[in-house]
């Protein structure tokens, strides 16, 4: 295995594009190094992107935020502008792993690892995040939702590198939230995760809603049925009940070591209800 630490994104893309065997981008390494431990793992090339200028920065523009692909999740929490704009995204990213993992892990790595249970991904999808992909054929911007396509699989092609996650400046009267279920208080992978992002009208009723579900399908679900239950409401009991039912119905989980189908479907509804309340309050709803 070869380790490279290029100083420009062009070099990084070229190295990956020209690599003969299996090659990987290395961000925080908290997924990649775990995989490397397995006796079945083989890689010919690892390209560390942390020395590329700008990758470790959070840029605030007129449109919003560009979060460099090498920004650690711990650093997200230290950016007060980002925290106040997208509290749900940051809290989701901060749930990943431990203090030690937070020092290293990135949202981009979380997204590209394509685990169905990735914590920041539902929050990014609810926030309608986009990612900037730089590849052998140039730069393109695509929806974060379209990156993971199944467990461990992404839509990225050979030589593609995400250089930043883009978050729009939030609308007035909007708020987002993420909740997950784990049996312990820390150090568990989500059994269910739900993100809700709401924008309210002047009268305090929900104008737009995005509801994303994690760990209940091969990859993140953006549920329009669930979103619809909230539109026009002030999160009255009936609306929340409908949201709960819609989220349970939208979930198509499996039984595994972390939870059962019945448990996941039921708890997806419960968490959606709770996350919606938090997002609503953050949006200024009462």
């Amino acid at each position: 295995m070869r380790y490279e630490r290029p100083g420009t994104i062009e070099d990084a893309v070229a190295m990956l594009a020209q690599a003969s065997g299996r090659s990987f981008v290395l961000a925080g390494g908290t997924d990649l190094l775990v995989r490397m431990k397995s006796d079945d793992f083989d890689a010919d090339l690892v390209v560390d992107i942390k020395a590329i200028p700008g990758m470790d920065e959070i840029a605030e523009t007129a449109d919003g935020f560009a979060i460099g692909a090498a920004v650690s999740c711990a650093e997200l929490a230290e950016n007060s502008a980002l925290v106040s704009a997208w509290p749900g995204v940051v809290e989701a990213a901060n749930l990943i792993g431990s203090t030690q993992i937070q020092s290293r892990c990135t949202m981009t790595g979380n997204l590209c690892n394509a685990s169905p249970a990735a914590d920041s991904v539902p929050a990014l999808v609810a926030a309608d995040a986009r990612v900037r992909v730089i590849g052998p054929n140039g730069t393109r911007t695509i929806s974060a939702q379209n990156i993971p396509v199944g467990p461990g699989k992404t839509s990225l092609e050979k030589g593609d590198i995400i250089d930043a996650i883009l978050l729009a400046r939030p609308q007035p009267r909007s708020g987002d939230a993420y909740l997950r279920f784990i049996p312990r208080t820390e150090m568990d992978i989500a059994v269910v995760g739900v993100a809700v992002n709401l924008t309210l009208g002047a009268d305090g009723s929900v104008q737009t809603a995005r509801v994303a579900l994690g760990a209940v399908a091969p990859s993140v679900i953006l549920s329009e049925e669930a979103a619809r239950t909230l539109i026009g409401t002030k999160l009255e009991a009936a609306a929340l009940g409908a949201l709960e039912a819609a989220c349970s119905a939208a979930s198509i989980p499996i039984d595994d070591k972390r939870g059962t189908v019945a448990f996941r479907k039921q708890v997806a509804g419960v968490l959606a209800r709770r996350a919606a309340r938090i997002a609503y309050e953050r949006a200024g709803g009462k």
């Binding site: 049996p183 208080t185 820390e186 150090m187 992978i189 595994d256 070591k257 019945a262 448990f263 968490l271």
Partner: protein, 754 residues
């Protein structure tokens, strides 16, 4: 002079204080050397190839390609470990577990091993070993393994302990029975009967340090091993037996040990390291990965237990019956028997019967885990007692007090108790502020009792007095939780010197006589006994030396408060001689001064504990948090109270983990799904509250200071205490441990449906 171990009340100066531990500085500076922290010149790296199948006949193993790989220095299979066990079934089980001989019995069972110049080559070599398996049907569940149509692990296993002996083989290794009286007539007298079935899942000791050793065999037949173990003398014996080495030529040094809890009382890969070293002619280092630790080293039993308890309306238990099925991995052992012995040990019962079944399954060989077998039995019995109290409408502490065993009670497993602590711990619970603290919404409280025998055993200790009067104490029981500090306190107490003047070390197998391993909570109990005896022997010598120095008869020399004193008016108040004074003259009075002791420590003194637990359950998700926890336990005498508290807290935390989230999860293919700390969920720091402790001291009559074992009892009550608290919070009786969120939510849904 024979050693008088009986308890004598006296004022203690050192014992019972909380000095700093002798190994503290090494451990906070990173200098302490654990199993993997030792290297030898020219050492090779070993790796073990493990079966991916739960049950498979090994048809063929071809190691030739691995042997041919550059950098590979030895490859071994079962063929390199000929069977020298001579019909000893227990030893054969160890041998077969170390390296599968004809069948792989579980996912993770070793089938071959390599030693190579580095980890990379060793990993490559594993991939080059070809194993052809004939995959057989498997069974991993204890109840499924007892079904008549279950796949058989061993066609020659006929259940022992049944009359007449069965004529068809099964997966039940043996049946054991304990009790007295007549349970049927007892139930006939009962006004209220509780009858239920319970299940507990398999858990792992979860020590943070994986098994590690460095083995070195020499051409002259001598060998050395550095290893993390709870019993280096036992490892030496087992390894020598399995490999055909002479016991005295194998020198085993125990490293600092990063947790064991029973799991490091059994050999796993150590014989393989020795065999590889013998074959390669070089030292070999073998460190298990975390995944290997989970897949192939000692978990505890999975159990299925039926309990029936009857009582009169006023709360007197008239009869108690339990049927206990314990899985033991692929080889029958005596885990169910121990469970059957401990089940009702807390109570004074007229009619009691327990029956244990030892069940073999396609899971790793079960190893001891802190009060082995007792927590599961206690879960079932203490849950039933809790339910009984509810049914009668009696306070659950009162019900237990009413039926608690006391001095003179005949225990359910046979012996008559001496002075014991179950009653006092229950009385302490009754008046503990925790018991009456108000509970909030969705909160519940549970309590439970637990028992453990405690062991003594063979112990050998040397106490050497240096020329400056300081003392080195060499013990052979591995320090798993601060026993060096405790033993230093004991030596200081006996000799009447300062704790700071004593340094305790763990001697290797070549420098001290045989010691049983540190298990059964025996470390401090038995080595303290040997330390007292060694100190008293040293005092005899020091009195003789003082007599020489003074030139008076030794009968006129007494030992008081660390000094030799001349007794009698004729010696006109000679200044007493301190240990230092006597030691300084040792060269002129007969040479070095030392005290030795070899003994079998008897009468470890049973111990009891009562735990109280508060939980809060989220009724919509089943998420459970322990919000308050109290441990009350009899220590006999707390030699170093801080370490006794630590044992109470550590055991409680392990029990809480077992109760709430820890479990081995197997797939339909019989493979372990969660061999890592991310999915095998031991409690993390944010999961737990502070754990309050109350130490009771009911002296053990068979120990000079009244010490009992303290290390194990604390894991016995938590399963039931937590489950009772959850049952109280959610209003449904939880009968399957761990009471994980999916199980709680399913129970709540079932209740809602009615």
């Amino acid at each position: 002079m024979s050693f008088d171990a009986t308890y004598k009340e006296k004022k203690l100066k050192s014992v019972g204080t909380r000095p700093l531990r002798p190994d503290g500085v090494d451990k906070v500076t990173g200098r302490a050397r654990y199993g993997a922290d030792f290297n030898m010149p020219g050492q090779l790296v070993a790796r073990v190839l493990r079966s991916p199948h739960a049950h498979a006949r090994i048809m063929r193993i071809d190691v030739s390609r691995a042997v041919a790989l550059k950098g590979v220095k030895a490859v071994i299979t079962a063929a390199d470990l000929p069977d020298l066990t001579n019909g000893n079934a227990a030893l054969y089980a160890i041998l077969d577990n170390c390296m599968a001989r004809t069948k792989a019995f579980y996912d993770g069972h070793a089938v071959a091993a390599v030693a190579a110049i580095d980890a990379k080559v060793a990993r490559e070599a594993l991939k080059l070993i070809e194993v052809e398996y004939d995959v057989l049907p498997h069974v991993v569940d204890v109840d499924a393994a007892m079904a008549p149509d279950a796949p058989l692990l061993d066609e020659n296993l006929f259940t022992q302990g049944i009359d007449p002996a069965p004529t068809t083989p099964s997966n039940v290794g043996n049946r054991s029975e304990f009790g007295h009286g007549d349970v049927e007539s007892g139930f006939a007298k009962a006004d209220v009967i509780v009858e239920r079935s319970y299940k507990t899942e398999q858990t792992h000791q979860g020590y943070i340090e994986p098994h590690a050793c460095v083995a070195s065999c020499n051409v002259d037949g001598t060998a050395e091993m550095w290893v993390c173990t709870q019993g280096h003398f036992v490892y030496r014996q087992t390894c020598a037996d399995l490999l055909g080495l002479e016991v005295s030529k194998l020198r085993v040094t125990s490293s600092e040990i990063g947790g064991g809890f029973g799991g490091k009382t059994h050999v796993w890969a150590e014989p393989l390291a020795l065999a590889l070293s013998r074959k390669a002619g070089r030292p070999v280092k073998l460190v298990m990965s975390r995944e290997e630790v989970f897949r192939a080293s000692g978990p505890t039993s999975q159990t299925s237990i039926d309990v029936k308890i009857g009582a009169t309306k006023d709360g007197k238990i008239t009869a108690a019956l339990a049927t206990l099925r314990y899985s033991s991995g692929p080889y029958a052992d005596s885990w169910a028997e121990t469970g059957a012995m401990t089940s009702f040990a807390c109570y004074d019962l007229e009619n009691v019967k327990t029956v244990g079944f030892e069940v073999i399954v396609n899971r790793p060989k079960v190893a001891a885990y802190r009060a082995p077998s007792a927590p599961m039995a206690a879960f079932a019995v203490e849950s039933a007692i809790d339910e009984l109290a509810h049914k009668i409408g009696m306070d659950s502490v009162e019900l237990r007090i009413k039926n608690a065993a006391s001095e003179g009670s005949r225990s359910s497993y046979g012996p008559i108790y001496g002075p014991i602590g179950i009653g006092p711990t229950l009385e302490a619970a009754r008046t503990h502020p925790h018991m009456s603290a108000p509970l909030g919404k969705n909160q519940g409280r549970g309590m439970a009792c637990g028992f453990w025998f405690n062991f003594g055993g063979q112990t050998c200790t040397d106490l050497n007095i240096s020329a400056d009067g300081t003392v080195t104490l060499a013990v052979g029981t591995v320090d798993v939780g601060g026993s060096r500090a405790s033993l230093s306190l004991i030596a200081a107490e006996e000799l009447g010197i300062s704790y700071d003047d004593v340094k305790a070390v763990i001697a290797d197998t070549s420098t001290l006589g045989y010691n049983d391993m540190t298990d059964g909570s025996r470390g401090t109990f038995s080595s303290s006994m040997a330390t007292i005896s060694a100190a008293r022997n040293a005092i005899v010598t020091m009195r003789e030396r003082a007599a020489l120095m003074w030139d008076i008869p030794v009968e006129d020399v007494a030992w008081e408060e660390g000094h030799a004193k001349a007794v009698g008016a004729s010696y006109d108040n000679r200044a007493p001689l301190s240990v230092k004074d006597i030691a300084a003259e040792a060269g002129n009075t007969g040479g070095p001064i030392a005290g030795h002791s070899e003994l079998v420590a008897d009468g470890a003194g049973v111990s009891f504990g009562t735990h109280i637990c508060d939980v809060e359950v989220d009724p919509e998700t089943g998420a459970t948090r322990v919000i308050r926890y109290t441990v009350i336990q009899d220590a006999g005498k707390a030699v170093h109270p801080a370490y006794v508290e630590g044992q109470y807290q550590g055991g409680a935390a392990q029990g809480i983990g077992w109760a709430l989230n820890e479990e081995y999860v197997y797939g339909a293919d019989g493979r372990l799904q969660n061999p890592g700390f991310l999915d095998y969920r031991i409690p993390v720091c944010s999961d737990l509250p502070m754990i309050d402790t109350q130490i009771l001291e009911i002296p053990n009559p068979n120990h000079p200071y009244g010490v009992r074992g303290v290390g194990e009892t604390s894991i016995v009550p938590p399963l039931a205490a937590v489950a009772n608290a959850v049952s109280d919070a959610v209003g449904v009786r939880m009968v399957h441990v761990p009471v994980s969120p999916p199980r709680i939510l399913a129970a709540l849904n079932a209740k809602a449906k009615g």
